[in-house]
Structures are given as C-alpha cells and as structure tokens.
C-alpha cells in the first residue's frame, strides 16, 4: 500500500533526523534525566505534599508531563526547518500521499515521546519511584501521556507552520508550552496557589493528564480532593482534552500546510 509506505518512509526520515541532531536528541534523552534528578532532589527537599506521600512518588508523573510538553516543540522546530528548505518541494513533485508529510512527522514525534518517557521512567525507578498499580494500569498511565503528547504534536505542527523560522518556532513554543507545563499540578500541588492561578491550573489539560496517570500509577495525587470537574474526573478529562487537541489541530494543521505550500 503506497500510502502506508510513504508514511513509513517519512516517519523513518524524521526519526533519523532526531537521532542526528544533537539538540533534538538531547531534548528527549539528557533533558528528561536532568529534569528528573533536579526536581526530585531540589524541589523534593522543600515541597510538602498535602495528605502526605513522598515527593518523588508524586513528581514522576508530573515530570513525564513536563518533559513531553516541552519536547513536543521538536515538531514545530522540525517542520519549520523542513518548510524553510526545498525538501518539501521535492516531496511534492513526487507522487507522495499528501498527508504523509504531517502524519509522518507526528508519528515520529510519538515514538520520540515514548523514548523521552522511558528516560524519565528509568531515572525515576533508579531514584526510588515505584508505580504501585497493576501492570495494566501502569501501562495505561503511560498511554494517557502518549495520547496527550500526540495531540500536542498536532498543535505544535500548527505552530511550526505559522512561524517563519525554526528559531521563532522554538521561542514561540517556549512561550506557549513552558507556562502550560508549569501552571499545573505537575510539579507542585495546586492547593496553595493564588485563586486565579489555581483555577487555571486545575483546568489545565496538563493537570488532568498528570492526575489521571497518578491515579493509574497509584501514586500520591493531592488533586483528587479538589472540587473542579477535571480533577474529579481526571481520566475522562485527559481523554477529552487529548481528543479535542487532535480534533482541532489535525485539520487545522492540514489546512495550514496546504496554504503554506500552495502559491
């Protein structure tokens, strides 16, 4: 099947890119290890969880969320540099299945997200984090993250398409995704945040995803007692957020791609 082959060829190409670009590679290997160690040991010595529990048991799910959110920017940067080079023109003069360009990109990013998760998880296991739920539930916890990461990579594809250079994609990505990752329950409990911030954090998709996987990992989840719909139904909220990201940004990315490559 020509379409599947196009998709496989382009996915592979993007993976080779990540492997050969030191910065992109470090985003999903060195950075997750570093962040995990820094947060567990630096923040972990200061943060006291409401309702008890160890910070490292609490933090690993949050670190997964944070690393996946910030490394999703790779999609924007990669796509933006492809658009700036002539390589997309080359693909367009071949009888390539059109959506393969974007879908191949997001598939490659899904695989990188899995690698990134593995680095966080292994580092977590080394420093003493343990998922306490069943194997199936634990896998489900990772699945929730990967689905969310997949949705984010479509949002990042849009970002890549509207930015003029890989550098501007990188800085726009930082402005959007860094606050998204931080203003959440990922790294600190939201209970003592100022009211406005707390509301934002409790409705932030990153919080829903993090809560859902804490639940699946059977790790400490102080947000469970918060009276906000997404915190009361984190699984459903996480799935809805991810589905919404894909439903909104996949067609938008396709539209933007068409507009950007047609003159």
């Amino acid at each position: 099947m020509k379409r599947l082959r196009d998709l496989a060829v382009l996915t592979r190409r993007n993976l080779v890119h990540i492997k050969r670009e030191p910065l992109q590679l470090s985003d999903v290997t060195v950075q997750p290890v570093l962040f995990t160690l820094l947060f567990v040991y630096v923040f972990g010595s200061g943060v006291v969880l409401p309702g008890g529990g160890s910070y490292k048991s609490f933090a690993i799910a949050g670190l997964l969320a944070m690393n996946l959110t910030t490394s999703a920017m790779g999609t924007a940067v990669g796509l933006s540099s492809d658009l700036g080079s002539g390589v997309i023109d080359r693909f367009r003069t071949l009888a390539v299945w059109r959506p393969a360009m974007l879908v191949g990109r997001t598939f490659a990013d899904l695989l990188t997200a899995a690698i990134c998760s593995a680095f966080v998880a292994v580092t977590g296991l080394i420093v003493g984090w343990r998922p306490e739920g069943s194997v199936l539930a634990t896998l489900g916890g990772f699945g929730v993250f990967l689905l969310f990461a997949y949705g984010l990579s479509w949002a990042c594809a849009c970002l890549g398409m509207i930015s003029e250079s890989p550098e501007s994609a990188q800085s726009m990505g930082l402005v959007v995704f860094f606050p998204l990752a931080i203003v959440s329950n990922a790294l600190v409990p939201t209970e003592r945040m100022p009211a406005v911030l707390k509301t934002i954090a409790d409705w932030n998709p990153v919080s829903a995803v993090t809560s859902a996987s804490r639940k699946l990992f059977s790790n400490p989840n102080p947000s469970a007692s918060i009276h906000a719909w997404p915190m009361e139904h984190p699984m459903l909220a996480a799935l809805l957020w991810s589905a919404a990201l894909i439903a909104v940004f996949a067609p938008l990315a396709t539209y933007l791609y068409r507009r950007r490559t047609t003159d």
Binding site: K2, R20, S85, G86, R90, T93, D263
Partner: protein, 334 residues
Amino acid sequence: MTDLMIEAHALEKRFGATVALDGVDLEVPAGAILGVLGPNGAGKTTAVRILTTLSLPDAGSARVAGHDVVREAGAVRRKIGVTAQDATLDEVLTGRENLVMIGRLGGLRRAQADARAEQLLAEFELTDAAGRLLKTYSGGMRRRLDLAAGLVTRPPVLFLDEPTTGLDPNSRARMWEVIRGLVADGVTLLLTTQYLDEADELADRIVVIDRGRVIADGTAAELKAQTGGARLEVTLSEPRAEAPAALEEFVSGPVHVSHDGRRLRAPVRSAAGLATTIVRALDEAAITVDDVEVHQPSLDDVFFALTGHPTASSPEGEAAAASSPEGDPQEVVA
C-alpha cells in the same frame, strides 16, 4: 498535436503586484530539449514550478505528458523528474539515503530503490561520498546528486532549473556531459538557464523569456539570424583602395577600413560558403588576403538586441547580477 510532452498556453502568474508570468506559451515535443533562457527574475523558475505542479497558475493552462498540471497533478508527478534551482534534498541524510528515500516515495520497492541508488551514485561519480551526510557535499556534488534524485524513477519528462548556476567551469562541463547522456536516452527535457552558451550547447530549441513574456523562440541559428546578421572581417596582405568596392555586393552596411588600410569590417547577411565566395571574388580582383572571417553573432548579441539589456554572462550583466540581491555571489561564468 498529440506528441507534445510539455505544452503551456497563456500562463499567467502574479505575486502581489509583481507579474512573474504574463502569458507564456511553451511547447516541447517528445524527446526534444527546450532551453528556456532569461536573466534572473525573468519568470523561468515560476514557469517550471507551475509545470511541475508546485505552483498554481492564475490563468492559462498547461499539460505535461498529456495530463493537466492543475486537475491531474498526481498523474503529472508520476511522469516527471525535477532538479530545482535550490537544493531540495535532505541535508541530514547521506547521499545514498536521499536517493533511496526518493525511490521509495516514487513507488519503488526497497530492493529496487537500493539498486537504483547504487547505480545512480556510480553514474554520477558519487559512490565514494555515498555514506556522507549531504551537508558535507561540495556545490558540484550537490548538483549532481540533485540531478540523480530527479532521475531515480526514470521519468520520461525532466525539468532542470538552472542546473549549472553556481558551478565552477569544470563541474559545469561535467554536468553538460551528463545532460547530453540523458538526451541520448530519449528523455524530454526542459532546461532553464541564464547562460546563452549553455542553451546553444544543449537545447534543440530556445525560448527567450524576459519579464514574464516570451520574446523570441527558435533554434539557436534562427535566433542568431533573427537579430542582426554576421560580421565580416577581412585582413589584406597590403592596403588596397579598391578593396571596399570589391566587397560591396556581399555586405549589408558600410565597410569600415582600419587606419593601416589592411583590415576591413562590415556587416553581412550570413550565407553558406560566404567566406569562400569572398576569397574568390577578392582573388579575381587580384587582391591578396591573409585572412577572411565571418563571425556569427553570439547569443549574447542576440539577447542584447532582443531585450536591450545584457545577460548575466556578459561583463555588464555580471556586474548587475553582483549588485542585485538575487545575484549569486558564487556564480562563476566560463
């Protein structure tokens, strides 16, 4: 006509206020090479982009290999190979990986794509560099790989957009050889160039484009004949006052005599055997000559006559190109 592989009718394209194409017609029969000649910004690349389905025309229509470039873009893509002016390969992949990827995307099976890549790498003398990342390639190597990429799927129609711009004279000569080889294989080719000698050297027919319009069309010889005839230069063994009169019947303008009275120059209409006829006529008049030359006009002369401005391959054009933002600083002209 049914055997036209490339045909464009009244193509128009504008970008904002800039008119890139202002009603361009092109026709290339199967197996022929059309040279599209014009200075920077004439509209050559825009025409190629439309014919290769990368760009949509604002008006007019075009068919490549019998398929409409707008409505049947997919069918056109299966028939064409393209070597664009800018690099269109993946910098982070090796030469071999690039060709295999293009083969796979072009519909070859894995083993076929591998074999085809090796074959092309050997043909283009890139086998030694095949395992290196593209970003380490020299300009000439990139151009060769780019051309090889256009050939992976053995397309019957090939578009080469300024294949030698920016190359040193050596790489340029090698590129010409490669292009001649392709033509021998029966490929239909549209080649754009800023170099008149290149069009003269490679193309069966030449279309001259300037400011989005076709301003001349014909074989190199026809174009030369169309704009100004040839120039006659006679060097006498010794000055002879009656020499200009003896040349009268052949020239198409005033005869200019040099200070020493030995060299005579005049415009002539070129004709077969003109130099021989002139030698004979002068001999009959008992005028001895050291040298008779009939200079065919260069295509540079032609271009200047057609457009009123010089081309990139003449010294003035070079200076103009260097000062314009589009001027390629690496450009080396043989």
